[in-house]
Amino acid sequence: MKTQITLAQQEFVARQKKRRRLVGVGRIFLLAAILALWEASARLGLINDFIFSSPSRIGLCFYGMALDGSIFLHTGITILETLLSFFLVVLLGIVGAVLLWSSRTVSEILDPYLVMLNSLPKSALAPILIVWLGNNMKTIIVAAVSVAVFGSILTLHNGFTSVDPDQVKLIYSLGGNRFDVLKKVLLPGSVPLIISNMKVNIGLCLVGVIIGEFLSAQAGLGYLIIYGSQVFKRAHKHIFSKRECFIC
């Protein structure tokens, strides 16, 4: 249809490409500028590098830990815990939402409790979990699950109940029952919702795992952060905070 690209179109494309390049360069430049400023301030003594550390010290520390392999162990454990709790949250979220959907009475009874549990500060719960479950990975996983699971159930249940009632009517008119509604309409129709919910949950799970590791762990990034701050090795702490950013 269109063989000739007009001059205006070419100019538009060129302008857009130039803008995208600018965005890419700008991002890298900003990172470099922050690191340079940080390093320079530490070297020039504008900030106390014992408290604030510096990029070069973080780099050296990372190099050292990479050589003895300890950084991979800790990162691996944190990732493992995060994934484990993430799958549990997804599973419990879907099962919980389906159970709530299956009985309106039960869902109305439980609703205020779920809202309350969801708004509860989970980091406050973590010390109690240690007493209950012990100083181990179980505590960390339960802490991480508790951060994300209630919100997940509420969001999914909300999605389930806002399904078009005519789609439900269609299933009934074809001779289906409530289970068919779940199988044919609710679950397949909620896939986009479940995926967007999963995106939120993976972040929340990492937060929960780190909280758990702060309090009860022998390994993991959260453990390293606490360990680092206790032995006053700022470089440690910074490096792991960064690492968490990258995992996300």
Partner: protein, 258 residues
Amino acid sequence: MIPKLQVKDLSYSYHTMDGETEALSDISFEVSAGEFLAVVGPSGCGKSTLLSLICGLIKPDSGEVLLDGHSVSGVEAGIGYMLQKDHLFEWRTIFSNAALGLEIQKKLTNEGKKRVSDLLSVYGLESFADSRPSELSGGMRQRAALIRTLALQPDLLLLDEPFSALDYQTRLSVCDDISTIIRGRKKTAVLITHDLSEAVSVADRILILTRRPGRIKGILTMDFADKSLSPLKRRNCPEFSKYFNEVWRILEQPGGVL
């Protein structure tokens, strides 16, 4: 001969915390096999409720619905229901959408699958069997929805304003298309509509309901000289405007049962 569908003294009320709303009151009529009945009435007169009752989706407060002389309780296999929108699921192909009813009733045998493919090819959707609903036009989607209903081989079709979601031009041709298919298969049909000209062009008889609570205000037989006319052709007949005006007149009559 036993009529295909008998509705006897049907009444139904909706209940909410704010009170009771009487939707239908003392509805009685019969539809004989192969007949096309249209139901018209002001909006909110309980037309859709009537279909839900006939289909067995809800239970009447009093009265009963008989299909082939047997009382309808719960959803019957012999009744097909077409809703206002096609409700084809985007996560299914056209074929598996059309086979949904069979799948739910656990009748998706090789024979069932063949029936669905045959229907798709008879009604020109063969090449779209593996397409997603969003790739089809509004008229083709409504055809696919009809095939989903026909695949269950119902004797009685309930149509709840199945064309009202379409734009006017599509609506005329889809209405023509669907009703020709239904007549061609000699199915009995009850069509709910608020479009009077649609009712006159499609139906053998028109049932006119009053304002809420819906009661029967009148029943009008469409007696066209040529019985085999398609809805679009009927619109050009001299009788068309006569019946249209007649339906209009009955609807406008203040209150009272005819």
